[in-house]
């Protein structure tokens, strides 16, 4: 998305041979990660949620499959696992984040999640066969203050999808769903969602669907044999399926680059809220899930960060300093159950104002998942 926008913005310089753009990725394919959520409900095939990265890039952009293993910021170079070094004048780090269930004792063995393809398939297997019992939903936040987990609304989305899915399967009355939220959620305490207005409407939505909910459950340990989840608040909760939003962290090369000041070795890069430059480094920007910003780690954030970075790099080249400012805007259409959707947006200063989920919202989300997203990735929308 950003590479395409940069290529368009810097086209005159590219034509004159003064600028070249190179994208390195450790994977030849680009995954539409939100679709992993649908994989958990058997609604998406792997083949449908990825495209060859090359096919999404303008031809002026070079693309090489290379895993970056080390950032040498002083020398303006990157080292890769193939041994090939790459130098840069401007660098944008967009390596995302990784689920780290191993950071909570027992979670890797006993928990399930939908933040990657294979775990989502395993969860789908469990959800499609459970006949009765208790599905326990937990959410873990990064320990770095005021940094959210990936895609803030995903736990609510999947809880509502789960309710619909089990009703479709005809087993909902025999399966208890319990949604929990940790004591600390960014700046809020003892809530059900990381923003107050949305958190306040959730009890009514959950009660209408007979979904149980509990505040103040910070997952600290799981006993895989007894199938019990323990909280930092000293509570024990049994489960048949533990559908968790696990801890997350930056990728190894970012963790090891020594620039992050994040707690718990999470690796988020210190990000200028406005210009999206990495503090303390020259000519280095960061986008997406690797930032330490308070806004959602979401594609809807990348969508608004990309034009700011493209403008700022073009301005640095042409005027010698960045000119554009990110206002924290994030927009998305939340999947509220299998059929309904709720368009939402917010920024640094305004929270989401929830509206009633609608069928049109659901159709819009489906259309975005299946088609519009690829036009966004190509930088067309």
């Amino acid at each position: 998305m950003l590479a395409n926008q940069l290529a368009r913005k810097l086209y005159p310089e590219i034509l004159r041979g003064e600028v070249s753009i190179l994208l390195l990725s450790d994977c030849p394919d680009h995954y539409y990660k939100p679709a992993f959520m649908y994989v958990a409900f058997n609604l998406y095939f792997k083949e449908e949620l990825k495209r060859p990265e090359r096919s999404l890039l303008r031809p002026e952009i070079g693309f090489q499959v290379e895993k970056v293993t080390r950032f040498d910021f002083a020398g303006q170079r990157l080292k890769t696992s193939s041994g090939k070094p790459f130098s840069y004048d401007f660098l944008v780090i967009a390596t995302g984040c990784l689920p780290a269930p191993e950071r909570i004792e027992g979670l890797q063995e006993a928990g399930d999640h939908f933040y990657q393809y294979d775990p989502a398939r395993q969860l789908a297997q469990r959800l499609s066969t459970i006949e009765k019992g208790r599905i326990f939903i937990s959410v873990s936040f990064p320990q770095t203050p005021n940094v959210p987990h990936q895609c803030g609304i995903a736990p609510v989305e999947t809880t509502l999808m789960l309710d619909d899915y089990l009703r479709r399967r005809g087993v909902r009355d025999k399966v208890e769903i319990i949604y929990t939220y940790p004591t600390t959620a960014q700046l809020l305490r003892n809530c059900l969602f990381l923003q107050r207005p949305t958190g306040e409407i959730l009890p009514a939505i959950f009660e209408q669907k007979d979904i149980h909910y509990q505040r103040g459950f910070t997952l600290s340990r799981v006993d895989p044999d007894a199938k019990i989840a323990y909280s930092a608040e000293d509570e024990a909760q049994p489960f048949d399926i533990l559908m968790a939003t696990p801890p997350i962290r930056a990728v190894d090369a970012v963790l090891e680059c020594g620039v992050s000041q994040a707690q718990n070795d999470e690796g988020w890069l210190p990000t200028n809220h406005e210009t999206l430059q990495v503090y303390g480094l020259e000519n280095v920007y960061v986008i997406g899930d690797t930032v330490d910003l308070p806004v959602s780690k979401a594609g809807g954030s990348c969508h608004n960060q990309a034009p700011v970075i493209a403008n700022n790099i073009a301005a640095e080249i042409r005027l010698g300093k960045p000119v554009s400012v990110y206002d924290g805007r994030v927009q998305a259409v939340a999947q509220m159950g299998l059929n309904a959707g709720m368009p939402l947006w917010y920024d640094y200063s305004r929270d989401v104002q929830p509206t009633p989920p609608t069928k049109i919202g659901g159709l819009l989300r489906n259309g975005f998942n299946r088609g519009l997203y690829w036009a966004v990735a190509r930088g067309m929308l």
Binding site: L15, I360, L363, N366, G367, G371, L372, W374, A375, M380
Partner: protein, 118 residues
Amino acid sequence: MNMPEDVSATPGYSALMARLQPLIDSGRLDNIVDLLSLVSDLIDLLDAATVEKLANVFEEVTASGWAAANTLRMTRAEIMTQGKPPSLYALLKLLNEEDTRKGVAVVLKTLNVIGRQL
């Protein structure tokens, strides 16, 4: 229309009615209401499978248009920078480049698939 006084007195209601009045007077409001019901019918008719098909067509059309525009733009830019037309030898050399051979294969295969559908 008989509206409770507190509703008809709201500025929003008055502003809306002022905009609607010409449509009501000329009988054209009926068209707007009919159009709304048509839109509503279309939404009722749409289901996940139809949206998926429409979204796939959207992607196919936009991706093909995008690729064609990219190709034209880049080819034009490269030819323009050369100044004078390429020599026959340069053309033959170009023909032997891997990317050209891939492109020629796409063109020939496209003709082949067109033929298959005749």
